[in-house]
């Protein structure tokens, strides 16, 4: 009899299917995974510390760089937290525009996830189709912010600029393209036998375990827990829109795929409602000394220019106290915990990163399964290492 031994296998950090720089140390018994040990931190850039050293306004661009697949959601979460800290109420129009942009962000992030997840499992053409539709959403970003990825468009108390005249047209084009694309994806994947074999009953987590592991977003809903912060604690006017929260049954990778695909459909529904009923109004709140005055006023009004100058150089002083505001980002619950201390820089900016907390459960998803399914488990969590490591 020869002695039975397990094999240690290092996967990553530079590995195409780890979606960045995730490293897994796997213990294998034949094809079966005995233990998984994730090692992270290769992309740690100290974003929280950097934000704590900046004025409230100037910390905003740091948020784009965490989850770079859905920058608008990160901007929104940060701005809502600062607005809560400073007790600012934004105009109706701003809320609606923010809803449209954050839903577009959700679609964009889900499309990219769909492409990369399918490519991990061998469906090479999916990425090309997903990127094709994503392109028209990036065009909307470019029209509003002048930037395709790091938008920084949502600002404290409002938006960076007023909407361009072709905004509605561009969004409608994006909605049309994604709607057409969705039926293509369904044809390619939903009944695809290879895809079903690779994802059904793989990386299963029960609803109870999902809560114990603090999972959020599609990871939680795929396990049958109907929880969506847009419904549970509506922010930015989400209570005005009619949409459903899709849930899965088995908590496997296939259910999470279906949940995400249905979420895209619901997002399209929200965008259409928001475009149809968009109110008119200013694009920034009027709170002198805290919210930057509109750029047009700065050029012609003395007082606006003084406030503009003062806010850019000195910022504003936040009260002593801590606030937490969470939004439903494409990955899950993205929250900002901001502590003010009476000065013009935050004492503490904590990001509650959904990718980081969802990734922690990867040993539970992979142990006891096949080695080939590890790739599926990483993909189905939908991580962005920029957000995991910050």
């Amino acid at each position: 009899m020869t002695e039975q031994k397990t094999l240690s296998l290092n996967m990553g950090p530079q590995h195409p299917s780890t979606h960045g720089v995730l490293r897994l140390v796997l213990e294998l018994d034949g094809e079966t995974v005995v233990s998984t040990k994730p090692v992270i931190g290769y992309l740690h850039t100290g974003i929280e510390k950097t934000m704590e050293s900046k004025l409230y306004y100037k910390a905003l661009p740091c948020t784009d760089r965490m989850d770079y697949l859905s920058p608008m959601n990160n901007n929104l979460a940060y701005c809502l937290a600062v607005e809560k800290l400073m007790d600012i109420e934004v105009p109706e129009k701003v809320k609606w525009v923010r809803v449209i942009l954050s839903e577009l962000s959700r679609i964009k992030s889900h499309l990219f996830w769909l492409g990369t997840h399918a490519i991990d499992l061998g469906a090479m053409s999916m990425l090309l189709y997903a990127i094709r539709e994503r392109e028209s959403i990036v065009d909307v970003y470019e029209a509003v912010a002048g930037q395709r990825m790091m938008t920084s468009y949502v600002r404290i108390g409002g938006l960076a600029y007023d909407l361009p005249s072709d905004f509605e047209e561009k969004v409608r084009t994006a909605v049309k393209n994604v709607t057409n694309g969705l039926s293509d994806y369904e044809k390619l994947l939903t009944d695809n036998e290879i895809f079903i074999n690779r994802t059904k009953n793989v990386a299963v987590i029960s609803g109870e375990d999902a809560i114990a592991w603090s999972l959020s977003g599609p990871m939680l809903r795929g396990s049958g827990i109907k929880h969506d912060l847009r419904k549970a604690n509506p922010y930015s006017g989400y209570e005005n829109f009619d949409f459903d929260v899709p849930i899965g049954e088995n908590g496997d990778a296939y259910d999470r795929y279906k949940v995400r695909l249905e979420e895209i459909r619901q997002s399209l529904k929200i965008i259409n409602q928001a475009l149809d009923g968009m109110p008119e109004g200013p694009y920034r709140a009027h709170v002198p000394g805290v919210v930057l005055p509109p750029k047009e006023d700065v050029l012609y009004k003395m007082e606006s220019m003084i406030f503009h100058f003062k806010i850019i150089t000195d910022g504003f002083e936040a009260p002593s106290g801590s606030v937490y505001h969470a939004i439903e980002s494409p990955k899950g619950e993205l929250g900002f915990y901001i502590s003010g201390d009476g000065t013009n820089t935050p004492r503490r900016v904590r990001v509650r990163p959904p990718s980081f907390i969802n990734l922690a459960c990867i040993p539970a998803l992979t142990e006891g399964g096949l080695f080939a399914d590890v790739v599926c488990a990483i993909g189905t969590i939908d991580i962005v290492l920029g957000e995991v490591d910050r």
Binding site: I40, K49, S53, A212, S214, Y337, R350, R352, I357, C361
Partner: protein, 177 residues
């Protein structure tokens, strides 16, 4: 809004009845309720909250810490470790907070109650140096192994490293504080 007030009353009643002395004070800021509790009772309080079906709080959303060095509230304890709890059924969020000074920076772990607390506590340990007693694997998670100190403490300076180009590639690396 009524449900939120009711939930708050229920929680306050529960904490005061079971852990009368354990709750030091209560704070409400921007409709957000925080209970400051004694460090040694934290794990018991969390277990009791989790086990109580009436409260329906099963979700640990986040663990973080704040360093109040030099602030007027430092007298209560320099570090504030903050536990963000959420009730999925009642859609209600509240905070448990623990204050501790540097010399007594040991707090019972929650990773035996919620498995997700494992990584959250490792992060707080890595960035703030808070020790979690009873944690199964309290090691660094984000910063490199060779980095000394805890970067998110207020007395840890932000530094700037001069980039090396062809004209200064032979100079020793320069770090400006």
């Amino acid at each position: 809004m009524g449900a939120v007030v009711e939930m708050e009353e229920k929680l306050r009643g529960f904490l005061n009845e079971k852990f009368g002395d354990g709750v030091i004070r209560e704070e409400s800021f921007r409709d957000q309720v925080s209970f400051y509790v004694k460090a040694e009772l934290l794990a018991d309080i969390c277990q009791a909250i989790l086990d109580n079906p009436e409260l329906d709080v099963k979700y640990l959303s986040d663990i973080t810490a704040v360093d109040w060095l030099g602030h007027e509230s430092e007298s209560e304890g320099r570090f504030e470790v903050c536990y963000n709890l959420y009730s999925l059924g009642q859609k209600y969020r509240f905070f448990l907070k623990v204050r501790a000074n540097e010399d007594e920076l040991t707090i019972p772990t929650l990773s035996l109650i919620w498995p997700s607390a494992n990584w959250m506590e490792r992060e707080v340990y890595d960035l703030f140096g808070v020790n979690f007693e009873g944690h199964p694997d309290l090691t660094k998670i984000l910063t490199p192994d060779e980095l000394e100190g805890h970067p998110l403490r207020q007395d840890y300076p932000l530094t700037y490293e001069v980039p090396q180009f062809t004209w200064n590639k032979d100079d020793p690396p320069e770090v400006i504080k």
